[in-house]
Point group: C2
Chain length 423, copies 2
Amino acid sequence: MGTARIVFDRWDGRYARRMARVRSSAVRDLFAAASRPDIISFAGGMPEVSRVPAEAAANAAYEAVIHEGSCALQYGSSEGRPALRAQIVELMAEIGVRLTADDIVVTAGAQQGLDLLAKTFLDPGDTVIAEGPTYVGALQAFSAYEPDIVCVPMDDGGMRIDALETELARLGPRGAKFIYTIPNFQNPAGVTLRPDRRRRLLELAREYDIPVIEDDPYGRLRFEGGHVKPLRALDDDVIYLGTFSKIFAPGLRLGWMTAPGPILAKVLLAKQAADLCGSAFAQVTAERYFSGTRWRRVLQGLTRTYAERRDAMLGAMEEHFPAEVRWTRPEGGFFVWAELPEFIDAGVLLAEAVEHGVTFVPGSAFYPDNRGRNCMRLAFCYAEPEAIEEGIRRLSEVVEDRLELYRAFIAAGALPEVTEGVA
Amino acid sequence: MGTARIVFDRWDGRYARRMARVRSSAVRDLFAAASRPDIISFAGGMPEVSRVPAEAAANAAYEAVIHEGSCALQYGSSEGRPALRAQIVELMAEIGVRLTADDIVVTAGAQQGLDLLAKTFLDPGDTVIAEGPTYVGALQAFSAYEPDIVCVPMDDGGMRIDALETELARLGPRGAKFIYTIPNFQNPAGVTLRPDRRRRLLELAREYDIPVIEDDPYGRLRFEGGHVKPLRALDDDVIYLGTFSKIFAPGLRLGWMTAPGPILAKVLLAKQAADLCGSAFAQVTAERYFSGTRWRRVLQGLTRTYAERRDAMLGAMEEHFPAEVRWTRPEGGFFVWAELPEFIDAGVLLAEAVEHGVTFVPGSAFYPDNRGRNCMRLAFCYAEPEAIEEGIRRLSEVVEDRLELYRAFIAAGALPEVTEGVA
């Protein structure tokens, strides 16, 4: 933006206090670099929209205007169109959640759901519990309402419930406004919350009387292993966020929220204040796209595509990455999380990686407090398998170079100093 | 919503403090009543989207997906597509405002612009200056950030600058975070800010060092009189909100904001947190719709249609309304503001009006403090001239009945008690 040119800000000191906390998304800032044709991007979690059948989507949009223009072009209800909410009821039933259309509010992607929930629940200084690392968009949405964000570590089974319990005991009953979790193929860690941990998390949430927000953008993109029931299927009080971005297209900005009635009523007020109502144009288009069965075959093919890309990434990492690097093995979704030796700063590494024609997101972007600096999120969703192999090869060279430097330091008995992160 | 059934709220006392302030829009709550076929609605400010050429809009949507699907279906930049921002540059040039695309952020309707500005500027207890009455959506958007909203009265020349000056003197330099104004065909009052007052308002804003937000949804819907330059054309520091809702269709949820660079950079961060980015699908569709010249002829025809409806409403009011009622005579836009004798409560009147098959919005919806209870906003944008005449006839009967009741009270020497408003 041209605004980058401006140095003097005559409104400095006039902004709301919250603006000191809201930082730009490192992920979004990387989109510009990612668009260079010579760059192989493991940065953005962008779905492969080229697999959406263009004719079907275009016809859905055309017919939305021609046959339902009086609705599609007009203001709509704040909760969203009844027909689309009825379709969401069916989607949710398929993953074991029984709802009626009244239990659902259509949002501008799941991101708006996060913003509205933060707006509904958070006063400055309130506590929020999330996985660490967690979705950068959730950190942005929450931060605007000035909470303290407590991060609970994960392992291969998802959020570590022992660590959660320690935090809850420290905070006490109602000591946090909500627990935010991405149980399936977590962004950025790629891990999935084990069924036994899901039950235990819900028990603890009841014991400490703290609402749970389940963010599930990737749940339908499972490559292997059996379906794991969402938290919402185990407990009616769970607030659940879904999105059409990964099962149709992010360009429509459509997601949904289900929550207990009183919470949903508050969220609806917050939504009226935020945008009056969602896009009826996008909603009618989605209704028509999802009215047949073709979307299911498209989604199956898309899931196979992502699975191949994950295989390509994990295979190449196995082959090329130095032994000092550890990484997760996701059963679905978009992301692998890699941990470098702790004296390596992934932000510094990124600059070198871009020179070598590959990008990723440094781990510190996914923490509220600059942790994760020796980590990388590697998105396998967007590049073809051959490009993924080449990108991992390039990245491994950059990692290897830096490791050699530090091995030499260590051999000389000089402990390296940890440099500053960029996020 | 089914949530209305629920009485007990186990999360009561857990919501953010702001939620005590956010109330539902009386306007939106009336939408349900307005959809009864026997009701003539003067309530919602809904554009006549039946005049949008369906084939042109449908083709724009179809081609957006077929020819630009890789963009239209994908995540986009937070500031909005360069091509649409270039078109907005041209639209703004036509009303005397010179910009570059970098000066613009595309928003989800102007409503999102209001929310993002409030988020960017307002801490609890801050002061905002607005016209009284003012746009109900602005009151909702601002209230979520817990400011004190100071209302400056209007007359036929728009905001009374003498009253503004009094408030500014009371509040002192930087005593308010911003001044919010709808200078053209104000919602709900229908009046337009006089050119000399525009200049004086800007002088005062400079003197007291307070940013001005100019909300201009109706500027291009002028029925008579000459074009009046927007505030932004007179002062580069004015924050300007525009929308495609009235020149194309609200169903796409597209608007824009222009503001000085440092403010726009903050707004952009707030937008990332709110929804990541706007709908590329809607943006590409709008680009294609606005790429020719046909939209201009459509808008001219639409403006004539609204002018005929205004004439029908003012004519019928002249003919039927009791002498005790006063009202504004808008030169454009959607709304007439009517003031009843102060002992009449328009909220009570509304219940009777619905029984008689006509709706409007009671005036108290447009104040933060329940003032305006003896006023009504009458939207002429949505009904055909014959229906408008019939609706005004019905409404005048209701008003006349109530007036007779009170005339009898007064004749008997019994002063009527002012009943509670409903908004």
